[in-house]
């Protein structure tokens, strides 16, 4: 038994549907999330992120393997794990015929919080998520982004020890996303732990202490965003807009990507000077920038697809 908020060992899930071949959604996921951490699960559509989150949040049975929430076995005793968790479901929507204030308050009451606590936390969440202006308007009249903010506010207000957020900022504008990030950071400083999935890699980088990249039900890489960027062979990216015809010359510096006439090279900082001199000698224009998490993600997952 572990004291970690979340721990899974060789977790597997296979979907069996009559008349179609079995689909292996999780093929042995081993991972842990430590107390107070914000961890992001990244992966392509159908990689297994939501399946993992659903099993961890007691909403789906695993086929085999072990998964624990605060030491409670989710497979055998989901009722013991549930008091510790709160979930923003993927594509979840608030009740359309409630306002955000009613939605958050009644949800907290349904979780067993007292009237006073529910009221105080509702007001705090409304203010925090910038919902004050339309807190009493029915959700059916709100925009998609405002509804999503209501969902996130509802779950954040629980201050549950372990939060699962499945694409929590989908459909939100950049300001609203940053409000969510600030709220989630605040929650973890108070002791909550967060596991989220997202397709916004800037969000994953800005928000997460650690990342897991999942592909076809397996964890490909885990670590910090910097670890991941380093894993692709360098932290800098040199773009040569007319460099494609000379790609072979630059291959020794690191991974190269040809896209039309342009060439991109991933390079370690210590070899940057040498590369720039060579580019200059060949009269090539070069721009240098940091490798982004998105580029690292594309390479890590792309390599795996190529290998398969």
């Amino acid at each position: 038994m572990s004291d970690d908020p979340l721990r899974s060992v060789d977790l597997r899930k296979t979907y069996f549907t009559k008349g179609t071949p079995p689909v292996e959604a999780l093929a042995g996921v081993t991972m842990s999330v430590r107390s107070g951490e914000r961890v992001a699960l990244l992966g392509r559509n159908g990689a297994g992120k939501t399946t993992f989150l659903k099993i961890a949040s007691t909403l789906l049975r695993p086929t085999s393997g072990q998964i624990e929430v605060f030491g409670h076995d989710v497979s055998t005793h989901p009722d013991r794990a549930r008091p510790y968790i709160a979930v923003v479901p993927q594509e979840g929507k608030p009740f359309f015929h409630l306002g955000p204030r009613e939605m958050i308050y009644t949800y907290l009451r349904a979780r067993g919080l007292s009237r006073e606590t529910s009221k105080a936390r509702t007001e705090e969440a409304i203010e925090r998520m910038n919902l004050t202006e339309f807190a009493d308007r029915l959700c059916i009249t709100l925009s998609g982004g405002q509804r999503q903010r209501t969902m996130v506010a509802t779950v954040i207000a629980t201050q549950a020890p372990l939060l699962f957020l499945d694409e929590p900022t989908i459909g939100m504008d950049p300001f609203a996303r940053r409000e969510v990030w600030a709220s989630l950071r605040d929650l973890t400083t108070k002791g909550s732990t967060i596991l989220l999935t997202t397709h916004y890699l800037d969000e994953a980088e800005a928000l997460s202490h650690r990342l897991y990249i999942v592909e076809r039900g397996r964890v490909l890489v885990s670590g910090t965003a910097d670890d991941l960027k380093r894993s692709v062979g360098g932290t800098l990216k040199v773009s040569l807009p007319e460099g494609a015809p000379q790609a072979e010359t630059f291959r020794s510096f690191g991974e190269t990507v040809v896209d039309g006439p342009s060439l991109t090279i991933i390079v370690h900082p210590e070899r940057l000077g040498e590369l720039m001199e060579l580019a200059l000698a060949r009269s090539l224009t070069a721009t240098v920038g940091p490798v982004t998490l998105e580029e690292a993600f594309l390479r890590v997952v792309g390599r795996n697809i190529d290998e398969d």
Binding site: D3, Y15, F16, S35, G36, K54, S57, T58, L59, L60, R61, F70, P78, D79, R80, R82, P83, Y84, I85, A86, V87, V88, P89, Q90, E91, G92, K93, P94, F95, F96, H97, L98, E102, T106, Y107, R109, A110, R111, G112, L138, M151, T154, V155, T158, Q159, A160, P161, L162, F164, T189, G191
Partner: protein, 257 residues
């Protein structure tokens, strides 16, 4: 930074936890949908008008039937609501992945819908008492039987809701199920009008069983002791079995396959 969550935050889930809170949630949701509330009595009112035009002497029986049918029809609302929340909003995941009990979610939804529609049902019941000159015992029997019919229908409605993956299919099947079993059998008309060969079946269907018991009580229908026992025991047993099954099913279906 703490390593363990404070226990005050983490109360264990107990049976039916969250029922009252979800009842209130459902009341608020339904109360904001006044059009849905207005349409709740359409079928009953239309049938009452037909009965009154064709045979005004049966309006007392029809009013009893309308009260029972209204309780039964709430099952359709539970079915629609549970499926809508699950399929369209995925809000059931929000509630069930937490300390709220699954049976509290089901019962809170069912009672919330009952509370919202209780006024029109009570109006029909009151008219049945006044027009049919029902005494206190018969009136209380009407209330009790309507309650059993509601619990049966709400439980069946919740169980059925879990089998659907698409709301479009629900509209057709739910309407078919609740209208066929609530209108075709002798609920709005005397039990004796129903083909004798099919009468035992009608006595095993909660809405018509309750109607037959009340019609027997006010002397409109003559039931044998065996028929009374079949209707009464059948209604109670079916309701309890379906309710227990709904509680079990609510717990069972929190997690997918």
């Amino acid at each position: 930074m703490r390593t363990d969550p404070p226990q005050a935050l983490v109360r264990p889930t107990r049976p039916f936890r969250g029922t009252a809170a979800f009842l209130w949630t459902e009341v608020l949701v339904q109360a904001h949908e006044s059009l849905a509330m207005a349409t709740a009595m359409v079928t009953q009112t239309v049938l009452l008008v037909f009965v009154y035009i064709l045979n005004p002497g049966l309006i007392g029986v029809a009013l009893i039937g309308a009260t029972l049918f209204s309780s039964f029809a709430l099952g359709q609302r539970v079915l629609n609501e549970a499926a809508y929340i699950r399929i369209d909003h995925k809000a059931n995941d929000l509630y069930l992945a937490g300390p709220m009990s699954p049976e509290g979610y089901f019962l809170g939804m069912a009672t919330g819908i009952l509370v919202v529609y209780i006024a029109p049902i009570a109006l029909l019941g009151t008219l049945a008492v006044v027009v049919g000159h029902l005494n206190v015992v018969t009136s209380l029997l009407l209330v009790g039987l309507a309650g059993l019919v509601w619990l049966f229908a709400a439980s069946i409605g919740y169980i059925f809701s879990t089998f659907f993956r698409d709301n479009r299919a629900i509209w057709a099947y739910a309407s078919l199920f609740f209208n066929v079993f609530g209108v075709l059998p002798p609920v709005f008309y005397p039990f004796g009008y129903f083909p004798p060969a099919l009468q035992p079946v009608a006595l095993l269907m909660p809405p018509s069983a309750a109607a037959a018991l009340l019609q027997s009580r006010i002397g409109v229908t003559a039931l044998s002791t065996g028929q009374v026992e079949l209707a009464a025991v059948g209604l109670v047993v079916e309701t309890l079995v379906v309710f227990v099954l709904a509680v079990f099913w609510a717990r069972r279906t929190v997690r997918g396959p």
